[in-house]
Symmetry: C2
Subunit: 206 residues, 2 copies
DNA sequence: CCGTTCGTGTACCAATCGGTACAAATAGAA
DNA sequence: TTCTATTTGTACCGATTGGTACACGAACGG
């Protein structure tokens, strides 16, 4: 029999798309087999634990990607504001303007949530923590930074829901941009509109 | 045979909970039968179209509830700011601090989205429109009102995801409260003084 | 008292589910 | 070549899926 797939890791992107599209329960082995081009024999060879192991592997890979490209820089970068901007760039390209769904979020909403409670909560907890950390290091107080971080992460997840529901990728971009602006250090002394007001509240909190 | 269920509408809350918990695909007739206490015979008597008709009926009922309790008041109330506050109250109690999931959002994320595209997009479109309308009538300009409305609706959906993922209902409350504050006419003066001011901007729109 | 209608449970259907077993086929070492 | 370990396709398993058929029982009009 020919060897098509060299590594188990090569199958993960295709499997991830199936889980994204159909959810954990709806992702049947038939669909996964079609997406990967592998029969059950190969699938169970790579993932002896069946669907649960496939989902775990996919979640771990996603987690690793976010850890490398977003959480790590948010925590470690010496330019936290730049790391935050980069995070928003990554979010916009990764979720493809809301056309691509967040698998972790999907699992959190479904009944597979309990089975994957630890990776799911870990992913979101580390996201919020890392973003809050970057916000603190860019000059905000700890409590409002944490509140803003939660708001941003929730807003991104909601933007995906809204964009898909309305079938309007623009809704994703608009919402994410609004969140992006809100994380910038100097709030909203913007262009031409509120010239008369901004003098009165420059002495806000740190 | 005894008549337990008087009306078809009496089954909808139970069916809705099953769809919420397991999604459209995951909600099997066995689960629905158990939740309603009805056998397949009765279910197909009430819903000749099967699962699809059940889901449509549930979506319609949810839509009606939101239309009556939230969208309508947002559009029609002569006190738009009060209607907005009431909306947030309703959201907090309806979604039970994120323990209860938004079925429309769940369907929007899954592969049943296309099948129910019209009711799903209609629900969110009318929510955003109604909220934007209330925000305009409470004194905001059209464009920022619409942007804020989208941000709020997305934020609510995301708060559900986040609260469930973290298994922390507090995250829902915090995020929703932040959104609520943001919709208030005078952002961040002190606590109670805003009531004396609103006389001054009734000259806004007509 | 009968007959129709409505509500209900149950048996059944083909299809598909996740998972197992296993034999065929390949690649690499000898 | 020959042997062995690794990949692979496929047949099969019991359970469950959405859906149909139908017969039984209560309610109701005559």
């Amino acid at each position: 029999m020919p060897r098509i797939i060299a590594e188990r890791a090569d199958t993960l992107p295709a499997i991830a798309e199936v889980f994204r599209e159909y959810g954990y329960e709806g992702a049947s082995l038939a669909l996964i087999g079609k997406a990967t081009g592998l029969g059950k024999g190969s699938l169970y060879h790579f993932f002896p634990g069946g669907k649960e192991e496939m989902a775990s592997a996919v979640l771990a890979e996603i987690d690793g990607w976010f850890e490398t490209h977003m959480f790590g820089p948010l925590r470690d970068s010496r330019e936290p504001e730049r790391a935050i901007e980069t995070m928003f760039d990554s979010v916009e390209s990764y979720f493809r303007s809301g056309r691509r769904v967040c698998l972790v979020g999907v699992i959190a909403l479904g009944d597979a949530r309990e089975r994957f409670a630890q990776p799911v909560s870990g992913y979101f907890k580390r996201w919020v923590d890392a973003l809050a950390d970057a916000l603190v290091r860019s000059g905000r107080d700890r409590l409002p930074a944490r509140a803003l971080a939660e708001e941003v992460v929730a807003g991104i997840q909601g933007a995906i829901v809204l964009a898909r529901a309305l079938d309007d990728p623009g809704a994703f971009g608009r919402t994410v941009t609004a969140l992006r602006v809100k994380t910038r250090p100097e709030p909203k002394v913007s262009r031409a509109a509120s010239r008369t007001r901004d003098r009165s509240h420059t002495r806000r909190q740190g």
